[in-house]
Subunit: 113 residues, 2 copies
Amino acid sequence: MPDAALWTALADPHRRAIVALLLERPRSVGEIVEACGLSQPSTSKHLKVLREAGLVRVRQDAQRRVYALDPGPIAALDAWLAPYRALWNKSLDALGRRLDETPDTPEPPAAKD
Amino acid sequence: MPDAALWTALADPHRRAIVALLLERPRSVGEIVEACGLSQPSTSKHLKVLREAGLVRVRQDAQRRVYALDPGPIAALDAWLAPYRALWNKSLDALGRRLDETPDTPEPPAAKD
DNA sequence: GCGTTATATACGCGTCAAGGAATATGACCG
DNA sequence: CGGTCATATTCCTTGACGCGTATATAACGC
């Protein structure tokens, strides 16, 4: 089960926006500030939350701090989600199982009705 | 992108517990109250949030209301998660854990650095 | 109808998180 | 060493959320 901090971090739309930004590529705080239209302190605080949830890592580049996504927690989210896939796989079974082929997906335990 | 209400709903640990309970099987409010140890009104309020997020559906059975999971929103979460899968697939690879190269892995869009 | 069971809503309270303004820290450049 | 840029932190206010108690609604059995 993902840590509570992970959910709390992703519960905020601004933070999800930041995460989406960082999915494209790592960015400095200034870029993030400009991209999501928040004030710099607010952005810094959101980044702190994301940092403490383990979602992002910082690389210090001179005065700039470049934030990048850390895949771990999102993978944990995916793992949390795994048991629920049986739910809609059941209904979309006709479409085939090609929705996802992650190699580490252990077949969820017996989801029968 | 999943609705904000979905994230808000899942941000609460009790609500995630309820969702997990409903994954096993649909349950009445009374069962949920007993299972997660909250007061009945609190549970009802959490169920309301889950309902408004579309995560659960209610079936009225006499005086009882049986709640069941709705796969839709969780599928939406999975869809939101999809772009991020490339991240940890890539990072596992970068760590040198050559997972037999997964020759059949359909690389989703744009994996740039 | 009445009482009982099952669930929902209203109200009040405490806590927590978000946002802005101001300020602090820290690294670069001269 | 002083100035400046980039980022973090602090203080404060405000609004949302969660909980519990008490109450309302609705369906059942008699």
